[in-house]
């Protein structure tokens, strides 16, 4: 009962004192608000990104790995030169894997080009042209047909000039017409006409890059249009993740035996990669951003804490007389200590709350601009207010202790 009464009194005194010094309180708050808002915004944005990235890669899934000449991430110039000396991964390699790998479920090949696509007087730029074979590559890529159909295997083998378009093509070439209106029309890529046989379901965008800005064509067609002796990427999918390792081993053996690579060769001669490569790169990149931003925010919180401490010291000095009065009528050390601690914590907790709101607001604006989901987490809000309250205690402790130790006689003498 006693503690509650004293704490409530301390809280009343704290809020009254904060109200009576509005400008000072506002300036004190800024330091805390900036720090907390920065943390909340970064945490929220990165959470949103994480979710987007996780969803994106899980559409292709952890059951897929690739065989290619060059790895997707090249870390040095030496590596680049080394990888360029490797043999191309060919259609025959893919056929051998299809034939020999028993743990593999689906095998396909894909090659990409970036082109401008035209229809009538409309133009779509930087479109990814993806030559694939066989049509199971659609399944491996995790894309599905919305309207129309995929080409047949015989159409594909014949190298017909047909295509399946991503939904962005509807928007950019057909003025957002319904998907079935696009079917049967001819689009031009690099001057060649292609007949649209199907339209894909939208996948959305990641980091502002649309994943629907794509045109799928049969690999034979691609080969005729862009030349055959280009290295391609072989995609291999297993049925369940626990088969992944076995499939990888088989594929490695097949590739090495086809190329007669000695067991002690310095370079394997090809890159076997799972989507983990991306996830790992992404994870390490964002974790660095995380650490750096949280570090910067922590520094601003420390600065905010010093501001609070400074203000509290001023407050204690200004209110020496008041402390003397309170002590004279029976306030104990811990009553005075509690009073000033609560005052410090009240400022920083309010600052923390405003910071949380500002941080979510910032994250909302940024996520709306870039286009990924806003994940407001209660935990980070609680953490924001909690951490700022701890800052309040840490920075208020010394001033409060000084106040509590004041000699009542001297304090009463102060003006």
């Amino acid at each position: 009962m006693f503690r509650l009464t004293a704490i409530w009194e301390a809280f009343r005194v704290a809020t009254a004192s904060l109200r009576s010094n509005k400008l000072r309180t506002a300036l004190t708050l800024v330091g805390i608000v900036v720090g907390v808002a920065a943390v909340i915004a970064v945490v929220t944005i990165i959470k949103g990104l994480n979710q987007t990235v996780a969803q994106t890669f899980s559409s292709q899934g952890s059951t897929v790995f690739t065989i290619s000449k060059n790895p997707q991430i090249i870390k040095s110039r030496e590596d680049f030169i080394k990888f360029n000396r490797r043999k191309d991964v060919t259609h025959e390699d893919a056929e051998a894997i299809t034939r020999l790998c028993t743990a593999c479920w689906r095998v396909g090949i894909a090659a990409n080009a970036v082109e401008t696509v035209k229809y009538a007087d409309q133009k779509a730029e930087n479109v990814r042209i993806r030559g694939v074979d066989p049509t199971t590559m659609f399944d491996i890529d995790g894309v599905t047909i919305n309207v129309g159909r995929i080409w047949t295997e015989s159409e594909g083998a014949a190298g017909r000039d047909i295509c399946v378009i991503g939904p962005d093509m509807l928007k950019n070439l057909f003025s957002d017409a319904p998907a079935d209106r696009a079917l049967g029309n001819e689009i031009r890529i690099d001057g060649r006409p292609y007949t649209i046989v199907g339209v894909l379901e939208p996948l959305g965008s990641i980091f502002g890059f649309s994943r629907d800005n794509v045109v799928y064509i049969p690999y034979s067609t691609y080969q005729r249009a862009y030349g055959g002796r280009r290295s391609l990427v072989t995609f291999i999918q297993v049925q369940t993740t626990d088969q992944l390792e076995a499939a990888e081993d088989q594929v490695r053996t097949i590739m090495r035996s086809r190329r007669h690579t000695p067991p002690d060769a310095e370079d394997e001669g090809f890159a076997l990669e799972t989507q983990d490569v991306f996830l790992n790169l992404y994870g390490s990149a964002t974790s660095n951003i995380y650490i750096v931003t949280i570090g910067v925010a922590a520094i601003s919180l420390v600065v905010g804490g010093i501001v609070v401490m400074n203000i509290m010291l001023v407050s204690v000095t200004e209110r020496t007389k008041e402390i003397g009065i309170r002590k004279a009528i029976g306030a104990r050390r811990k009553d005075i200590l509690t009073q000033f601690l609560i005052e410090a914590v009240t400022v920083t907790a309010i600052g923390g709350a405003i910071g949380v709101a500002t941080g979510f607001g910032l994250a909302y604006v940024i996520s709306a601009l870039i286009g990924f989901p806003l994940l407001v987490s209660v935990a980070s809000a609680v953490l924001g207010v909690g951490v700022s309250s701890v800052v309040g205690i840490a920075s208020g402790l010394w001033p409060a202790w000084r106040a509590a130790r004041l000699d009542p006689i001297e304090a009463l003498r102060a003006e």
């Binding site: 009464t5 004293a6 009065i325 004279a328 050390r333």
Partner: protein
């Protein structure tokens, strides 16, 4: 000590029969025994009080008078438990205050002592009612009982209508009455007033002194510390301090 004919009690030689239990007289509200207060000023030791002894029974109205530098402020701080003596024993309401630590002293101040200051020392931002409630807050009294007690105390000093006013909306006399209500709200053993009329005009001073008289007649023990003889003359007993010693201890009424 209720001997009405006793007019002079020489220091160090109290003539009334005395009962000593554990070194103090249990019948007395205040029992000071050979109190010394020494301050270290640089390398020099300054004795503000050297060997002061007196008793105050319950219900007395007493003035402590002395020029500045006489040690009367030091004595007041000791009586009010704001400080402890360097030597000697101080018994207040049966408790040996001279050996208490800070927090115990705070508790004694809260329960046993009601301060009235020259400059009122009210909290500027708080209403009269809240100012009066303050000792009860530190005493751990619940909100509803607290309001009740504070209202009664303000009633006792005729300030019921000004409860919600802040000190800057009150006159000097009204402020001092709020301070007196604050001092009395916890029913302390002593009402300790330090130059209570020092900041007031003579008319208001008389009102405050009349109020003290009334409070005394209602059974309160009142100690007024002053350097003004006409204020001291309102008391029933006057202790004169000079150079850290009791010069005179006389009953005047």
């Amino acid at each position: 000590m209720s001997d009405a004919t006793l007019t002079l009690i020489p220091p160090e030689s109290v003539t009334t029969p005395r009962v000593e239990v554990n070194g103090h007289d249990p019948r007395m509200l205040i029992s000071m025994r050979n109190i010394w207060k020494t301050y270290q000023m640089g390398t020099e030791k300054v004795h503000a009080l050297h060997g002061v002894s007196f008793d105050i029974p319950r219900g007395e109205y007493i003035a402590i008078i002395g020029p500045s530098g006489s040690g009367k402020s030091t004595l007041m701080n000791l009586i009010g438990c704001l400080d402890t003596p360097s030597e000697g024993e101080y018994w207040l309401n049966g408790k040996n205050v001279s050996e208490m630590d800070d927090d115990e002293l705070a508790r004694i101040r809260n329960q046993e002592v009601g301060f009235v200051f020259q400059t009122f020392n009210l909290l500027a931002r708080a209403t009269a009612l809240h100012n009066v409630e303050l000792p009860l807050i530190y005493g751990g009294v619940g909100a509803s009982q607290r309001h009740e007690m504070a209202k009664k105390a303000l009633q006792a000093v005729d300030l019921t209508e000004r409860m919600t006013h802040k000190p800057n909306e009150l006159s000097g006399g009204q402020r001092q009455r709020v301070a007196i209500a604050r001092a009395l709200v916890n029913h302390p053993s002593i009402l300790l007033a330090d130059e209570p009329t020092g900041a007031l005009d003579s008319h208001t001073s008389m009102e405050i002194m009349d109020l003290f008289e009334r409070l005394h007649s209602e059974g309160n023990t009142i100690i007024v510390v002053t350097h003004e003889h006409d204020i001291a003359a309102r008391a029933h007993r006057v202790i004169s301090i000079r150079d850290g010693l009791i010069e005179k201890d006389e009953r005047i009424r």
